[in-house]
């Protein structure tokens, strides 16, 4: 199967770092649809940085990252982030003044989805990630950490992206909830044919994905 995402000879160093002090150098990895991946490594190994590059939040790097054969540097990254990839963060990053349902609908609005009953779809997504319909009208701050993370996942799925990027998605959750979230991600990969990439330092996550990339410091 061909790769949906290719990281080719990518090197990155911080602005204020020495000339030869790279976070990672000539990194080559690829990701396919229908599989789940874990990127692990020690603190400072560049896991989150790599996720930033893949998600288009950081553009200053050497090498190239190809999404479906297209170079990210030449793409509209706002559109890319809102249609081709979904991002899930460790701290959920939901808008606290909005309800669960509104957070999901906002993402659809930004994507300019039309001819869709957004409320109905938001409920369906919530149910897909194991949330009850009754939570839809609740402000997100009144939800538990696991519930908020499910809302974040539901939000990332709202515009049906091909890739789901998750940065330490279970870092703030207990083991049981972590397993439930991992189950959702694996379902998305295997049943929905998505490419799920999880940045983690959790061995449990590494044990439950299809492939693991280990980033060593100063590769």
């Amino acid at each position: 199967m061909s790769s949906i995402l290719n990281v080719k000879n990518v090197s990155y160093r911080y602005k204020d770092a020495a000339k030869d002090e790279y976070v990672f150098k000539d990194l080559n990895i690829s990701f396919e649809l229908g599989k789940s991946y874990a990127i692990k490594g020690k603190s400072g190994s560049g896991k989150t940085t790599l996720l930033s590059l893949i998600s288009g939040l950081e553009k200053k790097y050497n090498g190239e990252i190809l999404y479906d054969g297209k170079n990210l540097k030449k793409m509209n990254l706002d559109k890319y982030r809102n249609s081709d990839i979904g991002i899930v963060f460790q701290s959920y990053n939901l808008l606290p003044q909005f309800t669960a349902e509104e957070n999901i609908i906002l993402s659809m609005d930004i994507n300019n989805l039309k001819k869709v009953n957004k409320k109905q779809k938001a409920i369906e997504l919530m149910e897909q990630v194991g949330l009850k319909k009754s939570l839809a009208k609740r402000r997100v701050l009144k939800l538990s950490g696991g519930e908020q993370q499910r809302i974040a996942i539901a939000r990332s799925l709202s515009y049906n992206p091909k890739i789901i990027l998750a940065d330490e998605p279970t870092g703030n959750l207990d083991k049981e909830t972590e397993n439930e979230i991992l189950k959702i991600f694996n379902n998305l990969a295997h049943k929905e044919n998505k490419c799920v990439i999880i940045v983690t330092h959790s061995q449990n996550v590494c044990n439950n994905v299809d492939k693991v990339y280990d980033l060593l410091k100063n590769v």
Binding site: S52, Y80, R81, N93, L94, L95
Partner: protein, 540 residues
């Protein structure tokens, strides 16, 4: 659309922050609407006043220039008299030439001729006290005249010389006329006649009737400008028991054998206090008799020695035209012995209080907008810093910078519109009393200054002299206050109806939008510079 919906959600769910912004905008809007309403109303008042009292210029003798010239030449008194007499009245041709100007909208001229009249008693002016001792025999009449103040003017050409001097004269007996001539020591041209015939060419030229200073109360204005018709004042009619249809026999002041009969077609009333007018301060305007140019020329044809004063009036486009027209006329060849005078000072002094209130309102508006703008910018910056996380999330899930900025601006705009509406409501409620209070203070200050000037002249406090038994002094003080020291006519405009109308609301909306943009500008720059990754890292 979703941006607008989200903006409303954000406003309703962050009440504290938005109420704070709203209060600031209400204060700015209320202050702005009051000042805008005052400015607008003041402009309307000034425009209406200037519309009613057009800026006029005329050409008159430059006595100061002539006196300086004569002093330089060490001229004798006789030389001075001759020099004054030698200056001819400006001609019709010259007036027509000067009238072709871009700085004026129209012009006209009147023929002013001093005449006597048979069996007609002249109205006297309170400022010129006359003690007349008349000794009549078959050949001579003696008259002694004393003045409390004195000046030669167009309407009192026979008045005594300045300085309150007394003069006694013996002249040829003229029992058919009511006015006996005084000693001819100053300007022979100005010694003629008790009445002033003012000859007009058309109705349009009769500015005092056009602007409502004079109104016909009985009969009507003559329609035939070739007829021997006159219109006289109520005072003159009452004094001489004259009515419409009666005839007046005018007498050539230099040759009493020449008489001219005219029919009274109307009687007019003067609606304004004539003592407000510099030109009639020391005379009684009741002696002005309105007629047509044709009748004046008829009298002039009977005696070559009679001299007429042609008084041009140029209606200027605006106040800037005064200087420009004056320069143009000089360039066209007006002699240095003549000068352009205008009523601009009179008009400006009448609206000075309103103008001062307008200036105060404008200054207050500018200060309010600056302070309000700065406060809004600061609050917005704090707001943006507080909502940095929200910006980071929106950017991360793919919202464009421009849309994030638009949403934040929409929130401020919605709060601003509500603030503006409430502020305009408060402003419309307060603008009338505030503006009238300001104007009352202005008038009070101007009057206080005026009273101080009066005291300097030994007039004492004007209000304290308000005594029915002392009408002469009261009249003097009244006239004194009306004298133009640059702050005269302070009561001319004494009320501003400062109403918040659609124009003010439109200006207010413009200010609101401008303030929103200015205060949002800083936040837009901040949003553009924020790195979502950095924000989310900081948050984590």
């Amino acid at each position: 659309m979703y941006i607008f919906k989200n903006a409303i959600k954000n406003i309703t769910r962050s009440k504290g922050r938005n109420i704070l912004i709203g209060i600031i905008i209400i204060v700015i809007a209320a202050a702005s609407s009051i000042t805008l309403a005052i400015r607008e109303s003041a402009n309307n008042i000034v425009s209406a006043y200037q519309e009613k009292n057009k800026i006029e210029a005329t050409i008159g003798m430059n006595r100061n220039y002539l006196m300086e010239k004569l002093r330089e030449d060490n001229a004798s008194q006789e030389d001075m008299i001759n020099a004054f007499n030698s200056i001819e009245s400006i001609t019709e041709e010259e007036i027509e030439k000067y009238g072709k100007s871009d700085y004026i909208s129209s012009f006209y001229y009147t023929y002013d001729l001093s005449v006597d009249a048979k069996d007609l008693t002249e109205a006297t002016d309170s400022l010129v006290k006359e003690k007349t001792e008349v000794t009549t025999d078959t050949t001579t009449t003696t008259k002694k005249t004393t003045t409390t103040n004195g000046s030669n003017s167009r309407n009192n050409p026979g008045g005594p010389p300045p300085g309150g001097k007394s003069s006694t004269t013996t002249t040829q007996k003229r029992t058919t006329t009511t006015r006996k001539t005084t000693e001819k020591i100053f300007n022979e041209k100005a010694q003629d006649g008790a009445f002033t015939l003012i000859g007009y060419k058309s109705y349009e030229n009769m500015s005092k009737f056009v602007n409502g200073d004079y109104t016909i109360t009985d009969g009507e204005m003559f329609s035939d400008f070739e007829s021997d018709s006159v219109v006289i004042s109520e005072e003159l009619a009452s004094l001489n028991e004259l009515k419409v249809g009666d005839k007046i026999t005018f007498v050539d002041p230099k040759n009493d054998k020449n008489t001219y009969e005219a029919t009274i077609t109307g009687i007019y009333k003067e609606n304004t206090d004539s003592s407000n007018n510099m030109s009639t301060m020391f005379t009684n305007s009741a002696n002005e008799i309105i007629t047509n140019v044709s009748f004046v020329k008829k009298i002039l044809l009977g005696n070559e020695d009679l001299s007429v004063t042609i008084t041009p009036t140029f209606i200027l486009n605006n106040k800037e035209s005064v200087e420009l027209f004056s320069t143009e006329v000089k360039e066209k060849g007006l002699s240095d012995y003549y000068m352009i005078t205008s009523n601009i000072d009179e008009i400006e002094s009448a609206t000075k209080s309103v103008d001062n209130v307008k200036i105060f309102a404008t200054t207050f508006l500018i200060i309010t907008l600056i302070i309000g703008g700065v406060v809004l910018v600061v609050i917005n910056m704090i707001n943006i810093r507080e909502r940095k996380y929200e910006i980071g999330v929106l950017r991360t899930i793919g919202m464009k910078k421009s849309k994030v900025s638009l949403q934040f601006m929409s929130e401020l705009l919605i709060v601003s519109i509500f603030g503006l509406l409430i502020g305009a409501g408060i402003g419309s409620f307060l603008s009338v009393p505030v503006s009238n209070k300001l104007l009352a203070n202005e008038i009070e200050n101007a009057n206080a200054k005026y009273d101080d000037i009066g005291k300097n002249f030994g007039r004492g406090d004007i209000d304290n002299n308000h005594n029915e038994n002392n009408s002469n002094e009261e009249n003097n003080n009244k006239s004194f206050r009306n004298f133009d020291f640059g702050i005269a006519k302070v009561n001319e405009v004494d009320s501003i109806d400062a109403i918040v109308d659609f124009k003010v609301l439109g200006e207010l909306l413009g200010i609101g939008v401008l303030l929103t943009f200015v205060s949002s500008l800083a936040s837009m720059i901040a949003i553009a510079r924020f790195s979502p990754l950095q924000i989310l890292k900081e948050r984590s």
